[in-house]
Symmetry: C2
Subunit: 337 residues, 2 copies
């Protein structure tokens, strides 16, 4: 059993914790939380061990949460730490992981040099095997890489021009905006997504532009990919339909928005209405000579969860993970409905 | 077994269908749907029988849904019909229910004279027993009635002055606004909520004012109730804490918004992140002489679901329902966390 702990119990951390609990070969040591809010209260009620900064112990105890120890204790007891702390904090914690000789994963909000490798399971799983420090790329980059590497199976993708329409905040966040503006992010070219894709696919010619939109459900990407040879729409669609972690939203389902994708997730009984799969709109998949066009939605809260689970196995030296992760988490392929 | 069918499979209908499936004394005949979208596709995949208008059968078949019959067939096969069709449509269908001699429930969007009685389980369950046509009041009215009838157990409520801050649309709806305006609803006094409360509590002095706000998660109510005698905050809080279908959001949980209430529902593993309980903010409960002030959130998609289940039993002549409904649906009381 791989003993895994989660440092940072927010949007990503809580989901990776739940995912670890579902792995037959992993054990959850516990989760680290800095303030005793409702999220910590629910985790404690669910019998997770809560590790806290030494100086905050009293605060937790008066909120009815008995800490299992401090964060340093948690790191000691772990084989692998999944760092899901806020952007930039992971790099600080890395010093402690290194000092204690523990392998660790970082999230895409950290600079790419925090890890020995940036990771996307469908593109470069094998390169991460046995590495000690791995950075799982961000939600947008994960989605783009899944799509590009899948398309490349039909014919290698030589060039990508992409538009990222970003959600402005996560559903639980009520202090972040914008509420009524479109915000070029940034108003210069390229956006960081292209550079981040290049941390995994180093030689790809890719340019992205991004805009923040006042919504909190999902991102939407619009891609124009150029392949080595001329491809047919049917080939691309078939490849998308047969690749796990990608689902196709059928035209006949009358789903025209991210709002309805969330409603579908609720109707399907998905926990927390999570959709870790890239959701490709079927009717958007089009080809023109060597160009492939498509549009898909990205659930920013959950898409990197399976990648984190895979990366835990990769740093533990295991060569096979993707199928097991998909099966344990109920991650789908094909038409979503 | 009471054979129940659901006419109209939208926000309310889909939830009542799921709730009926969880009742030990009910059987779901099927659900009626007019168009074959993703909601119908999921219901069909889950083995619900789908009844459709005769003229739309072909459309359903080409979407891969084999209809079980037409809506008239469904009504014939049922002991009770839960009508969850759009506002005003229920009154049209009533003619068919009457013609076929079938008891039926209607939702709060219908005019109050559609039923022999307007219904709120905690206020007037007994009056509905054996009635044939019952109107379950709307989400806002249900929440207000639960709160008033619960407060009245401490000391009878004589007067209510209330503010309703309404959500603008449901999460799945993407064609309805406003997106950036506050809309007095209407800019006259009182709003219809006061009149609707009076359909159940006929002699209560109540005035409400309402504003639509650009959010789709929940409504929020701010009440000022006057009781017969002087009351203490502790008495009110104790009564709220011991009443099922009402939960108290503890001050220490750091929950300051409807956004976090939805996140809590997700963390608690609630299906579709539903919260059918009235959610009272603990620190908002205050008293001043005979006045009781409080603030609570209302999950518009799910709050009337337990009331619909109870009303099915009431029209079937059964005197006890509330505890069974709460147990079968996992409906809570006390501190929510």
């Amino acid at each position: 059993m791989i003993k895994v702990s989660i440092n940072g119990y927010g949007t990503i951390g809580k989901r990776v914790a739940d995912a670890v609990l579902k792995q037959p070969d992993m054990e959850l040591v516990g989760v680290a939380k800095t303030s005793p809010n409702y999220e910590a209260m629910v985790a404690f009620k669910r019998n997770m061990r809560i590790y806290v900064p030494e100086e905050n112990k009293e605060k937790f105890i008066s909120a009815g949460i008995e800490p299992a120890g401090n964060i340093s204790d948690m790191i000691e007891e772990s084989d692998v730490i999944v760092d899901a702390t806020p952007n930039g904090v992971g790099a600080e914690y890395k010093k402690i992981y290194v000092e204690k000789g523990k392998p660790a994963l970082f999230q895409g909000g950290e600079k790419s040099n925090v890890g020995e490798i940036s990771f996307s399971a469908l593109c470069n799983y094998d390169e991460a095997i046995g590495k000690k420090y791995v950075r799982v790329v961000s939600c947008n980059t994960t989605a783009m890489l899944r799509t590009i590497c899948t398309t490349s199976k039909v014919s290698p993708v030589k060039k990508v021009r992409g538009t990222v329409i970003r959600r402005a905040a996560d559903p639980k966040e009520y202090k972040k905006g914008p509420i009524n503006a479109l915000v070029p992010d940034p108003a210069s070219v390229p956006s960081h997504h292209a550079k981040d894709v290049n941390t995994v696919l180093k030689d790809l010619d890719i340019v992205t532009m991004a805009v923040i939109s006042p919504t909190n459900l999902m991102h939407v990407h619009l891609l124009d990919m150029e392949t080595e040879r001329e491809v047919r729409r049917e080939e691309i669609l078939e490849q998308l339909l047969s690749t796990p972690r990608i689902v196709v939203v059928p035209g006949k389902a009358g789903i025209n928005s991210t709002a309805e994708l969330v409603e579908l997730a609720r109707d399907l009984g998905r926990e927390r209405n999570d959709m870790p799969e890239v959701m490709v709109f079927e009717d958007s998949v089009q080809t023109k000579g060597k160009e492939v066009f498509l549009m898909y939605a990205v659930h920013q809260e959950s898409i990197v969860v399976p990648e984190n689970v895979d990366a835990v196995r990769a740093v533990s030296g295991m060569s096979k993970s993707i199928d097991l992760t998909n099966a344990s988490l109920g991650i789908r392929k094909g038409y979503i409905i």
